[in-house]
Symmetry: C2
Subunit: 201 residues, 2 copies
Amino acid sequence: MSELDKSTEQVILRAARKVFTLRGFDGARMQQIADEAGINKALLHYYFRSKEKLFDAIFKEVMQLIIPGAVQVLLSDLNFSEKIYGFVEKYLDSLLANPDVPGFVLHELSLHPERLLDNIKGMGVDFNLLVGQIRREIELKHIKPVEPDHFMINLVSLCMFPFLARPVLMGLTGFDHGKFNAFIAERKQEIPRLILQSILP
Amino acid sequence: MSELDKSTEQVILRAARKVFTLRGFDGARMQQIADEAGINKALLHYYFRSKEKLFDAIFKEVMQLIIPGAVQVLLSDLNFSEKIYGFVEKYLDSLLANPDVPGFVLHELSLHPERLLDNIKGMGVDFNLLVGQIRREIELKHIKPVEPDHFMINLVSLCMFPFLARPVLMGLTGFDHGKFNAFIAERKQEIPRLILQSILP
DNA sequence: CAGCACTTTAATTATCCGGTTAAACCGGAT
DNA sequence: ATCCGGTTTAACCGGATAATTAAAGTGCTG
């Protein structure tokens, strides 16, 4: 595999990611991906034999893009407040860099949970480890007793939802691109404040 | 238009809603909708001339299903805490009755914001009215000063997101259908508690 | 009965799209 | 120069699917 190979493959993957995340698997067209990559359909199939194969490739890529980075922070040895601030900051940044990935991923997961959930399992996101962390913090009286399930869902909800609702926000309230980004930036303080004051003793 | 007409039309709309919300516009098949309704494709086109027309019909229906009911509570003359508890309770109930509507709506909105946002505008959801309510409560010192934008987004995020992530929850943690519903029921207390303690003086 | 709205059946058209193929081109490596 | 992997071009295939049509049937109503 030559240098050119790699770069073409990358060009294709970038194009595919754009089209797939924008239109979903069912809405994406191989022709559109080829156009976006500046190549032709034939070459697309030369690299990736089928739409499914191409999709699988970018889905893995995209999952690694949103999940693991921010989780590291939660497993570090910062104190609890710092962890929350750190997580939210990192997570929002990675979502800002890929604003339509969350909607894409959740939509595809809801269409084919069984097939796609394996991708998550096999990538080192250990839900139980996080829950264990929280239980420990409770035992140490660093935080009030909370249901770890609700805590995690609350945290992720508050970070991710604005991206899922972005079209509505931008269409209904006068949000433009810049205003939306500023809004998310504000949430780097807003979310930790909301979460923390509910659980700090 | 006879009684039979109406009931057939209703049968079609119910079938279409099921298939569309489950698979999205691009994933939905007219044949599948006909099967689900227990009729044939020809009759589908007899009532709704095209897939687009049928989609428009159910999209309007579905929007009215999630949006306006719960908002009433916020505009009533309950005190602020009661409003929040009431809103969350009502909203979660209507989402529980239509668990895959949120994902469907947000996905379609992100594909065709311009075309679909009109549906929202023309249905009496006055965002500014809600913001006004919040500002008034602040002036009256019923609640601490908050950004209305963040407040509203926080509230909706916490209610809606679990439904968007339901496939993940049910695939990753051992949630089954009953556990999920119980989890949502818990959130009728969890969400107002979280929200309120951040803004009550 | 006759008319009318609704419904079915079955066949057909037109389009879209994923995938394939063959032939040629190009540039770098052997 | 020759070979070869990457690339282009253009045409094509086959299947899926939305949409249409014609013809007949059903059942209610006036």
